[in-house]
């Protein structure tokens, strides 16, 4: 491979500050976790070895990586040379570039750097990531690659179509709960407990001494338990509040004739545009509290699993139903159907039996290992029927005006809108029990469906499934006949 010529540019020298910062965090983490009352010679040696590896190997490697990384952008293409052991030259033609995303976290905002991600329709292997370049250079790259001759030049939008003022961000944060951060906080808490930095017993004794508590209260376990539960919920709520505030601060979304432009974040500023072609389907979600106050969240399922959270990008993190119906059809037109078809009533039977089975088996197990008190668990059985009934009521679908609409789930409700032209394949599955009841599940595969969340209709009557698949397939063929290919 020929060496890159002189015109090729290097990354910003302050990239090193980023990598040094990252290794300090990694080192501090491993050091903290290796501490504890049972600290042995072995664990401290391991920490020492880790530190040496970091300094002796990772340091020069970072320098070599920096030296090897060169890039050159013209209005036609972006060329990147990289790799220490395996050298790679990657050409990304400008017409393949779907999006140029600029991300700036707190550190890079202090240092005046930015990370630029060049997204294509392909996988991770075909994308480019320049971390980090100067902030002005990032803007230059974005303008250069965007104004290249093959991409359509959209007029800049005059005003933001949807934005969240501080008040709404604060309100939306009130509805969030983060179990992830709660878990992390509790891990840290127990780590500190085991290090004897925090002593719960001593704290309670101290509070009793000062007269805030009475000894009897501190020994009263139902009170302690409920206090802990309240504390956990409050922690999760607070963490969710802060996380949401930091993430969606100053959220703005603008629409041009072909692209969605978004900008958001308090510390980490995210900025990027998303082509309409990348949008695979709409997902409107809500939790019970949000629904009670009539708030919803619009997410876009996008092409490629690398982008966003499991392939989903927030388009309107917190909005009224009417606002969503105002914006979403501009990305891909749709009209809501007037009526929906329910799934089969037999789904109640199937789910009741399935859930009851789980409960009966676990009660039997608890009876064996604990005591016959576990038989009280059988009182949950009527609730099972209620859950199955609710599940049936909340699950319905419609195929209307070249879009498939699916409503699902009880608490964290999902509403899917899938345009016909995004279908990749259809799958009808039926388990042994479903076949006995004449039911089946229809799964519509799009190019963005993740493993966790994907559109499906569970327990349809078999006849309905056949008819719907036929309709969907016909509509798809008709539409594909019109435009010969929608994925250029």
């Amino acid at each position: 491979m020929e060496a890159p010529s002189e015109q090729f540019l290097r990354l910003h020298p302050l990239t090193f500050v980023h990598s040094v910062f990252l290794s300090i965090v990694a080192f501090a983490y491993s050091w903290l976790t290796s501490l504890g009352p049972e600290t042995t010679q072995f664990s401290s040696t391991a920490t020492l070895i880790f530190a040496i590896i970091t300094i002796v190997i990772a340091g020069p490697f970072a320098i070599a990586k920096f030296i090897r990384f060169r890039y050159y952008a013209t209005s036609d293409e972006l060329i990147i040379y990289y790799g220490v052991f395996k050298r790679v030259r990657r050409n990304i033609p400008a017409e393949r570039i779907q999006n140029v995303a600029i991300k700036r976290n707190l550190l890079s905002r202090i240092l005046g750097t930015a990370s630029v991600r060049i997204e294509t329709a392909g996988t991770d292997q075909t994308e480019g990531n320049l971390s980090y370049v100067g902030a002005r250079e990032a803007q230059r790259l974005k303008d250069l690659l965007r104004t290249s001759k093959n991409t359509v030049n959209d007029p800049p939008p005059d005003q933001s179509i949807f934005s969240m003022p501080l008040r709404r961000v604060l309100v939306s944060s009130l509805y969030q709960f983060s179990h992830k951060i709660t878990l992390i906080l509790f891990t840290i808490f127990f780590q500190l407990l085991s290090l004897e930095i925090i002593d719960v017993r001593a704290t309670i004794d101290y509070l009793v001494e000062r007269g805030y508590f009475q000894e009897t209260v501190s020994n009263h376990w139902p009170l302690i338990t409920s206090l802990s539960i309240i504390l956990t919920v409050m922690t999760g709520w607070g963490a969710g509040f802060i996380q949401n505030l930091i993430r969606f601060y100053n959220f703005k979304i603008e629409l041009t004739p072909t692209k969605i432009q978004r900008r958001f974040g308090l510390f980490t500023l995210q900025e990027g545009s998303l082509s309409y072609k990348r949008v695979q389907s709409f997902l409107i979600r809500s939790n019970p509290v949000m629904r009670f106050r009539r708030w919803y969240r619009l997410e876009l399922q996008t092409l490629g699993l690398q982008s966003g959270e499991q392939g989903f990008q927030p388009a309107m993190p917190f909005a009224r139903w009417s606002e969503i119906l105002d914006l979403a059809p501009k990305i891909r037109p749709f009209t809501l159907p007037e009526s929906y078809t329910s799934v089969s009533l037999r789904t109640i039977q199937r789910y009741s039996i399935r859930y009851s089975w789980v409960i009966i088996v676990s009660v039997a197990l608890f009876c064996l290992i604990w005591s016959t008190n576990a038989l009280w668990g059988l009182l949950i059985l009527p609730i099972v029927f209620l859950i199955a009934l609710l599940q049936y009521q909340r699950h319905h679908w419609a195929f209307y005006d070249e879009n498939l609409f699916i409503h699902r789930r009880i608490l964290s409700q999902q509403f899917w809108i899938i345009p016909v032209e995004r279908f990749q394949a259809f799958e009808i599955t039926s388990s042994f029990f479903q076949r006995r009841l004449g039911l089946c599940t229809l799964i519509v595969d799009t190019a963005g469906a993740g493993t966790m969340r994907y559109p499906r209709i569970i327990d349809m009557r078999r006849g309905d499934a056949e008819r719907l698949t036929e309709d969907l397939n016909l509509a798809f063929q008709r539409l594909e006949g019109k435009h010969s290919s929608s994925f250029d």
């Binding site: 599955t429 039926s430 190019a447």
Partner: protein, 156 residues
């Protein structure tokens, strides 16, 4: 299309997969089992091994046959249908326009029996690869060429 689902589990209009598959699957399964049992002292050479062997033997005899029995595929005008599964019956329909590329694959054992698998790749994320196994090699190549021709036409 309407009759298709009714056809699950019945013989009839859909092509069945050639019985060679029935010969290949036991071989691969036996290899797995030999590997599994080759290097262990955990099971005493007695009851448990015996039970396991009987179970695996009946598994070898029954499962591939069942799997073979339920495997169906059909290449239609504008899509490819495949039905498979013993407990969970999965019926996949891939519109031919959505096919990104096609492979005819053959491993050593399959090569020995002169059969091949047709692997159909789409851009979708769930049924990315639709596999039609156990085809005679010529049939797999013929199928691939037919589909390729269709894809070529639809792009022109």
């Amino acid at each position: 299309m309407i009759q298709l689902l009714a056809l699950i589990g019945e013989d009839g209009e859909l092509n069945t997969i050639p019985p060679n598959l029935g010969a290949v699957l036991p071989v691969t399964l036996t290899v797995d089992i030999i590997l599994f049992f080759s290097n262990n002292n955990f099971f005493p050479p007695g009851l448990r091994t015996g039970i396991l062997l009987v179970l695996s033997l009946s598994w070898i005899l029954v499962i591939p046959r069942l799997r073979y029995h339920y495997w169906r595929y059909e290449l239609r005008d504008k899509d490819l249908c495949a039905i498979r599964g013993i407990y969970n019956r999965v019926h996949t329909i891939v519109p031919l326009r959505r096919i990104q590329h096609l492979d005819v694959e053959q491993d050593l054992i399959e090569e020995n029996f002169n059969i091949a698998r047709l692997v159909v790749h789409t851009a979708g994320t769930r049924s990315t690869d639709v596999v039609v196994p156990g085809l005679p090699y010529d049939e797999a190549v013929r199928l691939r060429d037919t589909v390729r021709e269709f894809i070529g036409q639809s792009i022109d």
